[in-house]
Symmetry: C2
Subunit: 164 residues, 2 copies
């Protein structure tokens, strides 16, 4: 019985690609598939030097399809992780040490955010002057997120988020 299970595993390997699990690092799981590259941007993974694995439209028991990101040898500040909640409130954050899960948490919508999103108002000072970073208060209206600009006080709604 043990032998036959092992045999099945070996046979299935032919049809699989093995991606090393991270020994240490962070997994961001249950990201809506169409938000994965926005999370990549929020975490600044375009320029990271450690291994990163990303999956999009992967089967998920809970959500149908999902996305995930695994970042080796990196842990993120809660402040950074909570920015993920802006685009992926369902995301779970899993910290790995020595191949074991040492912490699992959900993300929380932050009260304030800076730099991540463009202000929707083309006449806002943050769109006119390149050296003034955006700055918002986060409001939740009817279950949807609205960013209130610190400078022009105009709203930027979820459907208008443009990531910087």
């Amino acid at each position: 019985m043990i032998f036959s299970n092992l045999y099945i595993i070996a046979m299935e390997k032919r049809k699989e690609l093995i991606v090393s699990a991270i020994e240490n690092g962070t997994v961001i799981d249950h990201i809506p598939a169409d938000k994965v590259f926005q999370v990549v941007k929020i975490l600044g993974l375009e320029t990271v030097s450690t291994p990163v694995y990303v999956g999009i439209n992967v089967e998920s028991k809970k959500y149908g399809t999902k996305g995930f990101i695994k970042v080796a040898d990196k842990y993120f500040d809660p402040e950074v992780l909570n920015k993920i909640a802006l685009v992926a409130p369902t995301a779970s954050i899993i910290e790995i040490k020595g191949y074991e899960v040492v912490r699992k948490q959900t993300v929380e919508i932050p009260e304030r955010i800076e730099k991540i999103v463009k202000c929707f108002n083309p006449n806002c000072v943050t769109n006119k002057e390149h050296d003034i970073p955006t700055k918002f208060r986060v409001k939740k209206v009817d279950g949807k997120i609205r960013l209130v600009c610190h400078y022009c006080e105009k709203y930027t709604s979820e459907e208008n988020f443009e990531f910087l």
Copy 2:
């Protein structure tokens, strides 16, 4: 002997994440690690509906580290694939059918490109009018790529590529 090999495989599975190999689709391999998300953009993978797996800073025998992209159930026109050569001339394109490699090819720098890159000249008509897409002739000068704008004739060099 066979049994012990199988046993090792089974033990290693504990420390690995299995990502399904694609039954049908395209693998873009040997992408410079820092160019992977540019290739994602060139291929329009932000909005694709089939499974996509991306690896960055993955160990490579040939190049030290590399990136790869696997796109299930999709094949790309040579025209699209050659745009990859702009940022990742070392990339290899592998087409998979029924879990088998049916085609392997390198990318070729195209003679002309449209829409992918912004013109470096802020006064170019493509930067002033939003409905005029960029259009370039591709030149190779001292091993580096230069794009010559169809409209303003100004050069955009590799180090100034800004992807649209």
